[in-house]
Each structure stands twice: as structure tokens, then as C-alpha cells.
Symmetry: C2
Subunit: 389 residues, 2 copies
């Protein structure tokens, strides 16, 4: 058994670069940018009025006068106006170019109207109320680095630059092969000794929540010959193949052996963790196979802990370590195994829960994610948190 960090590193290092694809700005939320975005113009492109008020020459203000005639209006959306007489002011609107001859904006809150003039109640500092041309970025500057995860503010930046199409990380083709003779599909009526499949729904939802999808799902019976045929078929097209079950030590757990026969070279089998000890990982060329434990909570936890961040890394995302959180009560660590503990948010803080058994998802279903508690006897104060979505 290898430690969690080592297992993660081996999976991450096994994944290839899946290349890039262009995506429309309007569809790019959650995508990973794969080219630096550069400023097409200075940002802002002109000295920009930041508040409604009047534009003044600070020198005139500094001379001690407080009453100024209003010489006109400089609205937003109009070419730059000009303050011809520095002893007057121009009314300006947020977003307007600062009039030539003015250098400061006095906000309406600090003004009193007196007919065609204004009285300035509070003398601002020079330059106040002006968002200076190029103060955020100069033309050509990198405004979003390659690897940026395209959240709302990043897409606002892209929209400002007129970047209607963005070069983003392509997502790999992921296939899922589940197994188990006792399992029937969710739309079937199970016999007394059967249960309905839950892995496909859970793993598809997990992947979808992180922007991926399962392109293809097949279910294999517990028959080595058929299992091998279905694994071989899945490996014809999958870039990533997820397998559930068949990796623990029982007599019917043939997956690692059969994968070996199909040319998949193992990177690890067994991780010092609970749940999810039997996790297996291997590669055939650029194809990566991750064989998840059959237990539903183990499979979900392993997919979230290993696959999602490894995909992020392979897709070139800037590192975003999992947030560190402090649970209300520190979980007791296991001496040698990392333990993953479902966690829910309450009004008091983060609270971990104990599923009644490793097969039941009713309790984890009401959690927001899980904590990773490292092995050892003196637990730290803060633990990495992995959200389910």
C-alpha cells in the first residue's frame, strides 16, 4: 500500500495532455483557459470617471474657491469633453471619459446645487474619482494566465477584451465499466437477491459537476471471459476508463489480472486509506485505467480525491489546493491509514458524520463533501476539504 499523496502523483503523472479546443465565451464557465489572454487595449482604455459628480481642475479647488459654475454635461458614451475654463466644472457621469483639462471628480454626495453652479462641500485629493487609463493593464499585458479556471470574473475580463472564443483544455473521453452479477439497471425491478446499480448515476453526477461526462457505460457480469471482452472493447476508444468493483482480493476480483493481459501496466494497487484501500491504477500508452473499489462511497470518494484533481492538473489548470477547514470536533486519526470523512456544513461550522456502514449512502447523501484526515497520532488543526460538486 502506498500513501495517498503518492497514489495521486502516480495517477496525475500517468495522464497525458488532452490538448485544447475552442469554446464560445458564453459556454466557457468552468473551463480551463489554455492560452494567456492579453489586453487588447489599455484597461481602462481612457481616464474613466468612477462616480457621478463634477469634473474639476484640482488646482482651482486648491486655490480655496468652493463655488463653481457648471459649464456643461459630459455623459458616458460620448467622446471626451473638454473643460475649457478651469474655473468652472463639468457635470460627469460614471463611465464617461474624464474631460480634458480636468483631473479630479467630486462625487454628487459632496456637492450642493446652487442654480447653474455647485458648491463643493468636501475638497477631494487630486485624482480622486478617476480610474486612470492603463492602471489595471497596458495593451499587450497578460490579463488572464494560461491555466485560469474560467469563473464569472474571468469571463467578464474575457468579454471586455472581446475574446468571443477561448482556447480551453479539451476534456477526455471517459468510459465506465461496472460489474457485479447482483446488479440490475435503475429502470429494472430487482429480484429479491438483486439490487439496482448506483455507481453509474453517482459517478456521472460527480463528473458532470466538474464539467466532465461519461461518454459510454457498459455493465459486465462476474465472468472473466465476458469481462475481458468488455474491457478490451472499452479500451478501443476510452482515454480514461473507470472500472468499479473487481479490485479487492476475492476470487471473483479479476480486473487487475485481465487488464494486465490487455497490456495495461499497473501503477499501484492498494492505497493506505479508508475507505478505498483496493484502488488500482494503470496505463496502456496514453490511456489510463482507474479501477475503483466496488463500495459506492469508496468509489465516489476515490473518484473525487484522485480523478478530479488529476484531470485538472492534466488539463493545465493553475494549482488550486483543496481548502483547509477546521471541523467542529477533530476526527481521531487512524495510525496508518488516511481516513476520508463525509462532512456537512451546519450553522455552527463543519461537522463530520459517520456513515452507519460502508455500503450505505443515505448519510453521505446529505453531506457537502469530505475531509481527508492523514494517518498518525497527532491530528492537525486543519484538514483538506473535497466538495462533492
Amino acid at each position: 500500500m502506498i500513501p495517498v499523496a503518492e497514489a495521486f502523483a502516480r495517477l496525475r503523472d500517468a495522464l497525458p495532455d488532452f490538448g485544447t479546443e475552442p469554446v464560445a465565451l458564453s459556454d466557457a464557465v468552468g473551463r480551463i483557459l489554455r492560452e494567456p489572454l492579453r489586453a487588447e487595449r489599455d484597461a481602462p482604455p481612457f481616464d474613466r470617471v468612477m462616480l457621478d459628480g463634477v469634473a474639476v481642475s484640482h488646482a482651482a479647488l486648491a486655490a480655496g474657491r468652493s463655488r463653481f459654475p457648471v459649464a456643461g454635461l459630459a455623459p458616458a458614451g460620448q467622446p471626451r469633453a473638454r473643460l475649457l475654463d478651469p474655473q468652472s466644472v463639468l457635470e460627469v457621469m460614471t463611465g464617461a471619459p474624464l474631460p480634458e483639462g480636468a483631473d479630479t471628480v467630486v462625487p454628487v454626495e459632496d456637492l450642493e446645487r446652487e442654480g447653474d453652479a455647485v458648491r463643493i462641500l468636501d475638497v477631494p485629493e487630486k485624482g480622486q474619482g478617476v480610474h486612470r487609463r492603463a492602471s489595471d493593464a497596458r495593451v499587450g499585458d497578460e490579463v488572464l494566465p494560461s491555466g485560469t479556471r474560467l469563473r464569472p470574473a474571468a469571463l467578464a475580463v474575457a468579454a471586455t477584451e472581446g475574446a468571443l472564443t477561448l482556447q480551453t483544455a479539451r476534456r477526455p473521453v471517459i468510459s465506465l465499466l461496472t460489474s457485479g452479477d447482483e446488479v440490475v439497471p435503475p429502470d429494472a425491478q430487482p429480484l429479491d437477491h438483486q439490487i439496482r446499480a448506483s455507481h453509474p448515476a453517482a459517478l456521472a453526477a460527480l463528473l458532470r459537476g466538474f464539467g466532465h461526462c461519461i461518454s459510454r457505460h457498459r455493465h459486465a457480469p462476474d465472468d472473466p471471459v465476458l469481462l475481458k471482452a468488455l474491457l478490451a472493447e472499452a479500451l478501443e476508444s476510452a482515454e480514461i476508463l473507470l472500472v468499479t468493483g473487481g479490485v479487492s482480493k476475492g476470487s471473483a476480483d479479476h480486473v487487475p489480472r485481465i487488464l494486465g493481459e490487455l497490456g495495461v501496466r499497473g501503477h499501484f494497487h492498494g492505497v493506505a486509506q479508508r475507505p478505498g484501500k483496493p484502488l488500482w491504477c494503470g496505463s496502456r500508452g496514453k490511456q489510463v485505467v482507474l479501477a475503483l473499489p466496488g463500495n459506492p462511497l469508496s468509489a465516489l470518494t476515490c473518484a473525487r480525491r484522485y480523478l478530479i484533481p488529476a484531470l485538472d492538473a492534466a488539463m493545465g489548470a493553475l494549482p488550486e489546493p483543496p481548502p483547509l477547514v477546521r471541523p467542529l470536533t477533530p476526527p481521531a486519526p487512524h495510525p496508518t491509514l488516511a481516513t476520508f470523512r463525509p462532512l456537512r456544513v451546519t450553522s455552527e461550522g463543519w461537522e463530520w458524520v459517520i456513515p452507519p456502514n460502508s455500503g450505505a449512502l443515505h448519510v453521505p447523501a446529505l453531506t457537502q463533501g469530505f475531509l481527508e484526515c492523514p494517518p498518525g497520532f497527532s491530528p492537525p488543526d486543519l484538514f483538506p476539504f473535497y466538495a462533492w460538486t
Copy 2:
């Protein structure tokens, strides 16, 4: 100005119930369940073998014997087998029904094969290795309460119950009206005094990240007559109308007045917060209008802080308070205003950043969300965190 919590409560209380709609299990991730899901069968539906190994009668083990003949195999997916002779064992596979006459499973790790017999190396407790029928839920029990957010584990539970269609919260029809004469669309080449629109991209991405969408977007010039016509048109169909800009105190900020003329009754105008002070909210019947400040970071922050959780509440979601996090350095509070601080995750922990000015999104673009720092002089240790997606 009212406090943040009061503004949130007024918006939340103004929103109606948007009703429910059926959604396929495969499309339900992120949705809010609006009916309790009940167990169709006991869970598990039979005494289920949890590990590969042998099924035994514990009484025979307790009598001190350690070597037992293997009487046969009880695989998963087959009707319940029977251990005829309690002095023998049956080989069992994970997922199989526990054979009649057996009560305990000894895992393969604790066995040694000796021809047609096994030697049991470690005597388990009675009942070990068996996931007891109905130990998670009895038929008819509520396994997911109404209001559950459908994350992967919840969808696994739904799949197990054969719930192929789920009654979920319907999402409201959201319209967006932006304004500003200086703004051109992202696909236009701006003149020197113009900038490209960023609000629509940012707000659409924010809403999409939380499962919503903007059904309709119009841009209004800074002309009260046209603005009123476009507001009236938007109110013909929107259940929620977002407006950006036009709510601060300047001469061109007509939105609250015009909305009043259109029969929209104000709930608040001005919140003790930075950024986002001028936030405005009102209702016309069941329609709700949220007028966001024109500053891009303010608009995004207000939409995330108020609209997203208020929609969750209106859609019947079980409360999920924002997680409380401890930043690496405590932000200095403002004496009277709540401050929202963009936050990024680093390998050391949570670090807040200061945007160089209120108009620039380059710095917030690389953050994961923001902290809410309450007003006052003694900052708490932990602050609510609102993720951008």
C-alpha cells in the same frame, strides 16, 4: 442603509415558490428535490455479504474449531444459498445474500486454503461481514428529505430506489437589463470612449454555475424614456429581473424611480456594505427586481451574496449555511460596513486579496470566492465564504 442580513431576508421573503418540475435522474445533479424519497424496499433488501470470504455459523467457530470444509460457492446475483451443515462453510462473494444457516463472514485475508477446506486464522465477531437487511432503511422510510440538493451520493440513493424521475424545484425565468451609453457588446469594436459589456458574461456565468440561466438580456441606453420601455417589456415575462447600473445617486440613475412608476414597490435601497452599497430590491406581485450596482465586482458580489442563496431558499433547499473559513491574516473590519473580500486558496490556506480598484476584475478573476467580514472593531476568527461557482 440596512444591514446585510436584513437585505438578504427582505429579498428572500419577496421571492415566491416557483413550483416544481419533473427531471430525469440523469439530469438532476445540482437540482433541489421537492418531494421526500422513500425506500421502495428495505435497504439493503437482504442480509448482504460485505466482503469476499466464507460464510459460517458463528456457533461452530465459537466451539473452537478452525478448519472447515468448503461446501460450495454462493456467488453474488444468485438466489439465497443454504449452509446445510453448520460444521462446513460456503465460499461467498461481496454482494451475495448471506446463506441461510450462516450468520458471519470471514474475509479472505483471515483464511488459509487447505485443499477443499479453509483454516480460519482469526475468529470474527458474530455478524461480522454482513450488512443486515433493513439496517440502513426500512421499506417506506424517508431516505432523502424534500429539500435535498441532489449531489452524487443522493443520486446514487435515488438510482437504488429506481426513482428515474424526480420532482425538483423549478427554476425561475430570469431576465437581465443592463444599461450605460458607453457600453458596446463583446463582439463590437469599441471606439476610444467606449468599453465592451462585461456584466452579461459575468452574471450569466455566475447563474449558470449555480444551475440557473438568464433567459433574456437587453441593453438600455441612458435615456429614461427608452429605459422605462425596456423595463416595462422585461416585466412582461420575467419572474426575476436583474438590472445593472442606474441605482446610485447620480442624475442619470433613474432606475428606482422608473420601476416605481411601473408598479414595482421597493423593499430596500442601500445596504451597509462595500462594495455594493447602492443595491436596490423591489417587487411587483410575485415578480422580483434586483437592481445591482454598475461596478462589475459589486454586481457579481451582490448577485452571489443575495440572489443565489435567496433562490435556494425560495426553491425549498434545506439550509446550507456558507462555510466558515479562517483566512491566513484576519481582514481589518470597517466600523460600520460589511466588507466583501475576494479570496483565493493557496497551499498555505485562504488568502484575501485587494483589487487595485473597484472597477478592475483582473485580480478577482483569479480568486475562488469572497469572504464576508462583518462591521465592527473586533473581527471574529471565522468568516462566511461564498464561492464564485
